[in-house]
């Protein structure tokens, strides 16, 4: 099985050296563009266009960030992205857990139908539904609102499926014991079931936050006024509009989107990578 944890002796055989050198080259290709993004974002525009390029900036400057946050409206976009991602994460994880519990542990009329519908829409891609969704949201007069950015993502079939799978593993005796003690269904859910599923909640929460933070197509379609732009929408429109050749500014914008997520990822990488490899297959 996993030989991850046992302390191994590092063997310096020629094969091991070659293998690790090859992997190191791959690693450079993998994180090189991200490192380049960060170091380029603190170079002045002139140095960015220099040949041969410098690696570390000769002249460190925060000018690109000052322009993003003082001249352009990036504080607003950042706030929009944070608010939308947080509300979507909390709401959809909670709703998924609730319905997942009902599907896994409670008997009710319509249970099979509901589960079949969830499974049937599991693979329906956003590309297929965004046009009718736009028509619907327009008729609800929600275009250009936070509600438009949030509501469609509160019902997440994948989250329901995941939570149901985890809830199935909770022993029935635990639930019966709570009920015998006089706890109602809602007490049982919040006091007994939710604590049992903490790892699944964490994994789903991280994945949902990531998905919302990086989401592009729907926010691009659903909001047209700049005060509701999320970060990816703002950056994409700047990069294809009048700022298209201001590379320093654009990579600084990319850094603002990517770096917070990378830092969170590094802090939680054990949970994320393990979560992916288990939930991906569940």
């Amino acid at each position: 099985m996993a030989h991850d944890d046992a302390p191994r002796r590092r063997r310096f055989t020629p094969r091991a050296v070659a293998l690790n050198a090859a992997l190191l080259a791959g690693l450079t290709a993998s994180i090189g563009p991200l490192v380049w993004m960060v170091v380029s974002s603190v170079k002045p525009e002139g140095e960015i266009r220099q040949f041969p390029p410098t690696f570390l900036p000769d002249q460190l400057t925060w000018a690109n960030y000052t322009e993003l946050f003082a001249t352009l409206n990036f504080p607003r976009y950042f706030l929009n992205s944070v608010v939308v991602a947080l509300v979507v994460t909390v709401g959809s994880v909670l709703f998924s857990a609730m319905v997942g519990y009902a599907l896994a542990k409670l008997d009710f009329p319509g249970r099979r139908t509901l589960f079949a519908l969830v499974m049937g829409t599991l693979m329906v891609p956003g590309m297929v539904t965004f046009v009718p969704l736009f028509v619907l949201v327009a008729n609800l007069d929600l275009i250009n609102t936070y509600a438009a950015l949030i509501l469609p993502f509160l019902a997440a079939p994948f989250g329901v499926f995941l939570m149901r799978q985890f809830m199935l593993d909770i022993p029935d005796e635990l639930l019966d014991a709570a009920r015998v003690d006089g706890a109602g269904e809602f007490r049982t859910f919040f006091a007994v079931v939710l604590p049992q599923t903490r790892p699944a909640l964490a994994t789903l929460g991280i994945l949902t936050f990531l998905g919302s933070w990086n989401n592009f197509l729907w926010p691009l379609v659903a909001v047209q006024s700049a005060d509701k732009y999320t970060l990816p929408v703002a950056l994409a429109l700047y990069s294809t509009g009048q700022n298209t050749v201001q590379y320093g500014l654009l990579v600084a914008g990319a850094t603002v989107i990517v770096l917070p997520i990378l830092i969170v990822f590094l802090a939680l990488q054990r949970h994320i990578v393990q979560g992916i490899s288990t939930t991906g297959l569940k």
Partner: protein, 296 residues
């Protein structure tokens, strides 16, 4: 309390749990899925936005128009090119990395695992901006590096031949880590004594890979192939940010064309294209199941 009263109470509580999801799911998922089918058979345009029922049924006209449209055909060809190259490339590299990382000779495995996975968590829009910068023909890192070697690099994103490979390399770079992590978990599930036993029987590394690793990894490979394929068939952000579908439509994708038709206000046509894409997704997933399912 009687049994039936208790059942009714449980049923009520269950629907209480299911209600928030069920309502949102019905409104924002089931309704759009159903109405996209309706829209695909109507001549709905942007002007009908607030009166979606006052449109004409046009039968299969949208589908006939879409399939006969040279721009759509080009976009479909581009999408097949993208998926056909990027998917095997992504899965191949992911499998190679997973096998290497699982070999036991690696010194800092978790460092490599995190490093290869890092691009997966990035925003496609953000990294597409970064890659446009890397591939900038005059001072971008790639051509600067090639210049040092005495090679005059092409104008990647504005060259009809090189634009698509550029997007493919970027997509592969961003997505390899996902499949790698899942394949690595799959590899760790293969009992080590299988390898030990076959080594005693004289099987070499290549033979072990073909006779043990690949067959036992089939379900995991299938999963990765389906997920990657579904994502790649919808590729959109990369051309939107890096090439706007150009040069001369060389990187226009079906998803991008759906978005453009939507932008022109041709909702019916756009919905029909979405259905064509959806059918393509279903067909690809089916073929992968046929190809990679565990042989009985």
């Amino acid at each position: 309390m009687t049994v039936s009263a208790r059942r009714r109470r449980t049923g009520l509580a269950a629907w209480g749990f299911a209600l928030p999801f069920a309502v949102l799911f019905a409104v924002f998922m089931l309704l759009p899925v159903a109405s996209s089918l309706y829209m695909a058979f109507t001549d709905m345009h942007g002007a009908d936005l607030k009166s979606p029922w006052a449109v004409n049924f046009v039968g299969l006209d949208n589908f006939v128009a879409v399939l006969g449209d040279p721009k759509f055909q080009q976009a479909a060809g581009n999408t097949l090119y993208f998926v056909g190259v990027a998917m095997p490339l992504t899965l191949g590299i992911a499998l190679l990395l997973a096998v290497l990382l699982n070999s036991g000779l690696v010194w800092f495995r978790s460092v490599f695992r995190v490093g290869f996975y890092a691009p997966v968590v990035t925003s496609i829009v953000a990294v597409a901006v970064v890659w446009r910068f890397l591939l900038q023909p005059d001072f971008g890192l790639v051509n600067s590096g090639l210049g040092v070697l005495g090679i005059d690099g092409p104008r990647w994103l504005t060259d009809e031949v090189w634009a698509m490979p550029s997007l493919i390399v970027m997509a592969t770079w961003r997505n390899v880590g996902y499949s790698m992590v899942i394949l690595l978990a799959g590899l760790q599930g293969i009992p080590r004594d299988l390898y030990e036993a076959s080594a005693i029987d004289g099987a070499g590394a290549v033979r072990q890979f073909r006779s043990i690793t690949v067959p036992l990894l089939r379900p995991t490979l299938l999963f990765c192939a389906v997920i990657t394929g579904i994502g790649y068939l919808q590729f959109f952000e990369e051309p939107f940010v890096m090439t706007q579908g150009g040069p001369l439509g060389a990187t226009n994708s079906v998803a991008y064309e759906i978005f453009n038709q939507f932008g022109f206000g041709n909702y019916g046509v756009s919905a029909a294209m979405s259905y064509v894409l959806f059918v393509a997704i279903v067909i690809l997933s089916y073929l992968q199941f046929r190809l990679l399912r565990t042989e009985k």
